[in-house]
């Protein structure tokens, strides 16, 4: 590797790491425990973790099969479908929130239907989960689809020639092949759900204990108490780092 590349590499690292370290300089260690244990912070952390886990589960149950279809199906128009799947990655999250609101909100076409059976999504924890899933699921779909394409379909074809039905092949061949990629994709999906902000505040609103996740609480608190907001930011950074460090390295280091 050319030595010159170390310079931009170091700059790139500094660009990511230094601001986070800057957060640390703003923290008052004496106040930190009290700030982190405040009901607002704890409620938000709890809500974030729970909704993040549910969103990740939902992404797996729905996005997993979608990845399989994208990787294995020869349906026409699949390219367009893939473009739509990737859309949430590039859309500003607020756009996602507005889209959800105008579909599932009280005046939205689907929202009106739901309203007639007594279901209202905006301002509920379910809305938070939907917003997070909307934004985070593409990470799972891309991760899995990439792995499926890399693995190819040969093992599955062999299994089929040996007489295994589709379900048996899926369980015994496809899923085990996917496990490493599945792990890293799930982690990424969860991490993205944890950090979700724009779609949530637009679609679900912001109420402590119900819809105010950690990112929303940080934004809300920053209006009046910057120290408390910094403390919560630090909490989010630590949780996100924990998640990524614990579960991600295998995939990053290429041991797929």
């Amino acid at each position: 590797m050319p030595v010159v590349l170390w310079v931009p590499a170091a700059l790139a690292l500094a660009l990511v790491v230094l601001p986070v370290l800057g957060l640390l300089t703003r923290v008052d260690p004496a106040r930190l425990p009290a700030l982190l244990l405040s009901p607002a912070a704890l409620d938000a952390l709890w809500l974030s973790v729970i909704t993040g886990l549910i969103s990740t589960g939902l992404s797996l149950v729905l996005g997993g099969p979608l990845a399989l279809v994208l990787a294995r199906s020869r349906m026409r128009g699949l390219r367009v479908v893939r473009a739509f799947v990737l859309l949430p990655l590039v859309l500003p999250p607020v756009v996602g929130g507005l889209a959800l609101l105008y579909l599932l909100g009280r005046t939205g076409p689907l929202g009106q239907l739901l309203d007639t059976v007594g279901i209202r999504l905006p301002y509920t924890t379910a809305a938070v989960v939907l917003a997070q899933t909307f934004v985070a699921m593409p990470f799972l779909v891309i991760g899995l689809e990439g792995a499926l394409r890399t693995a190819g379909g040969r093992y599955e074809q062999v299994a089929a020639t040996l007489g295994a039905g589709p379900w048996l092949t899926f369980r015994r061949v496809t899923v085990p092949l996917l496990l490493p990629a599945l792990g890293s994709s799930l982690v990424l999906t969860f991490a993205r759900a944890l950090g979700e902000f724009g779609a949530t505040i637009t679609f679900a609103g912001s109420l402590q204990g119900t819809t105010r996740t950690l990112p929303l609480a940080i934004y809300n608190t920053a209006q009046s108490d910057v120290d408390a907001a910094v403390a919560m930011s630090l909490l989010l950074v630590v949780v996100a780092l924990l998640v990524i460090v614990v579960a991600r390295p295998k995939a990053v280091e290429g041991r797929l």
């Binding site: 050319p2 030595v3 010159v4 609101l101 105008y102 909100g105 009280r106 005046t107 905006p122 301002y123 505040i201 679900a204 609103g205 912001s206 109420l207 402590q208 819809t211 105010r212 934004y219 809300n220 608190t221 920053a222 209006q223 009046s224 108490d225 910057v226």
Partner: protein
């Protein structure tokens, strides 16, 4: 290797020089700029005041940055270079008291109920907001419109159970416009700015929480003289007229 390095360094130097030239070019213009940090609720009225001020001072450009008062106060504390600060409440002006000149009140504002056109949930008073089955959206207590909401609720003994506590008044408005809320509490001026998209329902309890807007020149202002002139302009007859048109009370 060294040749390549030299090329990269050369390109970087050229880039820096070019950027420098760009800035020098801007400075050589005869125009002066006064930078005004103003609360988001002042957007419409200050835009108009800026135009009128420039009409009186053709060589001056008024540059506005509208954000939440607390965000702006924090930026001033972090050393942002600007000339004037207009806050939506005294609390945030107090936060930067050491960094600004003498603050003067230039406007007042109070809350009103907004409902979607036609008032589908038939809301006529503040207690109506507390009736079961109504979806009400308010500002979070951390922001000025939220602390006003809290004050009004406490003074009138109405227990509000909002569906959401938004971070700024425009988000409350947006939820009412979208029909996602039966009612919201916003400032009179915001209701006015939203025009026919919402209907305002005034309530007497709003008198309990009249918000005062202070304006001050910033201590480290690059354009001290202009800053003072703009502040006087806002508090003068033109300022009163424009602010009044947008629904503000003027002291």
């Amino acid at each position: 290797m060294m040749a390549k390095l030299r090329m990269i360094v050369g390109a970087l130097v050229a880039l820096v020089l070019l950027a420098g030239c760009g800035q020098a070019g801007q400075q050589s213009q005869p125009q002066r700029t006064v930078t005004v940090l103003a609360a988001a609720s002042l957007t419409e009225s200050f835009d108009e005041l800026g135009t009128r001020f420039t009409r009186q001072h053709p060589d001056v450009r008024v540059q506005f940055d509208y954000q939440g008062s607390s965000t702006l106060a924090e930026q001033i504390k972090q050393g942002r270079a600007a000339d004037v600060f207009a806050s939506a409440d005294t609390k945030n002006m107090d936060k930067v008291r050491d960094l600004v000149g003498q603050p003067e009140t230039f406007a007042t504002n109070q809350l009103t109920i907004v409902v979607p056109p036609g008032n589908p949930a038939h809301i006529a008073s503040l207690p109506d907001l507390a009736a079961p089955g109504r979806t009400v959206v308010v500002c979070a207590p951390q922001v000025p419109c939220g602390s006003a909401t809290q004050k009004v609720a406490q003074a009138s003994g109405v227990q509000l159970t909002p569906a959401s506590e938004e971070n700024d008044v425009k988000s409350v408005l947006q939820k009412v416009i979208a029909g996602e809320a039966d009612a919201g509490l916003v400032y009179v001026t915001d209701a006015k700015a939203a025009g026919a998209q919402v209907q305002a329902v005034d309530f007497p309890e709003a008198q309990q929480a009249v918000n005062t807007y202070p304006i001050a020149t910033i201590g480290a202002a690059p354009e001290k003289q202009l800053a003072a002139e703009f502040m006087a302009f806002v508090r003068g007859p033109v300022g009163r007229e424009v602010l009044g048109q947008h629904g503000f009370g003027t002291p």
